[in-house]
């Protein structure tokens, strides 16, 4: 897995003559830990989030000095986190998640918000990789479509399509 590919992600036009280096890594970690944690807990659940989180920031640290100073650090670290989340999903094998059953149990009895959220996150977990990534990167991490496409490694249009398909499935799952 190469984390260097994503160093091309730009935040915008290169600032001319700006003598601004990369922030100290600890500041980068402080600035992005919350969104990466939310992203990972949403993508792989709280248990596996810990390992993914550590691997994400250790991979980021290794690549860090080679980054261009105008890189979009938030999109960059979320791309790494996205890959680690895919690794985690692959490692445990596709959990055969009976989305309909979960929905039936949890939301039929006019569910509490927590129960509805549980149904939702189970359904997110059960989405195909690309749809899950698109949905979580878009809504939990608030990345623009362009950065989602870069993270997943597809066209922007394909990213929009995956997002739409994923959302449709989630809507069916929670309203089942």
């Amino acid at each position: 897995m190469s984390d260097t590919v994503t160093t091309n992600i730009r935040s915008g036009p290169r600032a001319k003559g700006a003598a601004c280096g990369l922030p100290p890594f600890q500041r980068f970690l402080d600035a992005h830990r919350d969104v990466v944690w939310r992203f990972l807990v949403s993508s792989v659940g709280p248990v596996e989030a810990e390992d993914c989180f550590q691997e994400t920031f250790i991979a980021a640290l290794r690549a860090y000095p080679r980054l261009r100073t105008d890189s979009n650090l938030r999109a960059w670290v979320l791309t790494i986190a996205h890959r680690k989340s895919l690794d985690a999903h692959r490692a445990r094998g596709r959990r055969a998640l009976p989305v309909e059953d979960v929905a039936a149990v949890d939301s039929r009895e006019a569910a509490s918000p927590q129960a509805r959220d549980e149904t939702l996150w189970s359904a997110v977990d059960g989405l195909p990789d690309r749809q899950r990534s698109a949905v979580v990167l878009r809504y939990v991490a608030d990345l623009p479509h362009r950065d989602i496409a870069a993270a997943i490694g597809c066209s922007e249009e394909a990213a929009r399509r995956s997002l739409h398909e994923g959302l449709t499935k989630l809507r069916e799952a929670v309203s089942a």
Binding site: P24, Q26, D30, G45, V140
Partner: protein, 213 residues
């Protein structure tokens, strides 16, 4: 089934935006920093260190202590300087600084007269190194004048330059630039403020010798 109503969609979107979160990000980040430092992946590790002057910031490389900052120094500016001049691979973790923190504690309580911790001199210019190595050799309780330090550093008329080198000492207290005074015994200057210079010299019992009254 109302699967197609837009109301459902916005409910789903809102729930997604809240995210699944258990508020453990800060603890997870602290574990990452500790692991990065413990595994030797960081080029610089820093931690706050208590002192009679307030909270100092101490930073170490694999070589040794590279920076000790007084409480008034801006932490971000200190860290950015380290990122620029050494490496941006900087994390906060107390463990690698623990031996240094202990030596400083002992020194401030009067129980230690010499530091044994390793130092990293890379932030110091070649001339600064000549000056500060001479300073490093001034024993506890002793003092030299700016002129003496300049002369020993090989630039006998460079008292002012020596003063500047002492003033930009990145590891004050440990490299004892407070032990350098004006000819005649006046305190001269100190990056951490003259009050502290006086306090350190009194701690070491140096003031009463050179500055009676």
């Amino acid at each position: 089934m109302s699967a197609n109503s837009s109301g459902d969609l916005s409910v789903v979107e809102e729930a997604l935006r809240r995210g699944a979160d258990d508020g453990n990000a800060a603890a997870a980040a602290a574990r990452v920093s500790a692991r990065i430092s413990a595994e030797g992946l960081a080029d610089v590790t820093y931690a706050p260190v208590d002192s009679p002057f307030g909270t100092l910031l101490a930073a170490t490389t694999s070589q040794g202590l590279v920076r000790l900052a007084f409480p008034e120094e801006d932490v971000d500016a200190v860290l950015e300087g380290l990122a620029r001049r050494i490496s941006p691979r900087i994390v906060e973790s107390a463990a690698p600084l623990e031996p240094m923190r202990r030596e400083l504690d002992e020194y401030f309580s009067g129980a230690r007269r010499e530091f044994e911790m390793p130092l990293d001199w890379t932030l110091i210019s070649p001339f600064g190194q000549r000056v500060l190595r001479i300073t490093w050799d001034i024993p506890y309780g002793g003092v030299l004048t700016y002129a003496e330090v300049a002369s020993d550093a090989g630039s006998p008329r460079g008292s002012r330059a020596a003063g500047n080198a002492l003033g930009s000492n990145p590891i004050p207290i440990v490299i004892p630039c407070h032990r350098v005074l004006r000819t005649g015994g006046a305190l001269g200057g100190y990056g951490g403020g003259l009050e502290r210079k006086r306090w350190l010299l009194e701690l070491e019992g140096a003031l009463s010798k050179r500055l009676p009254g």
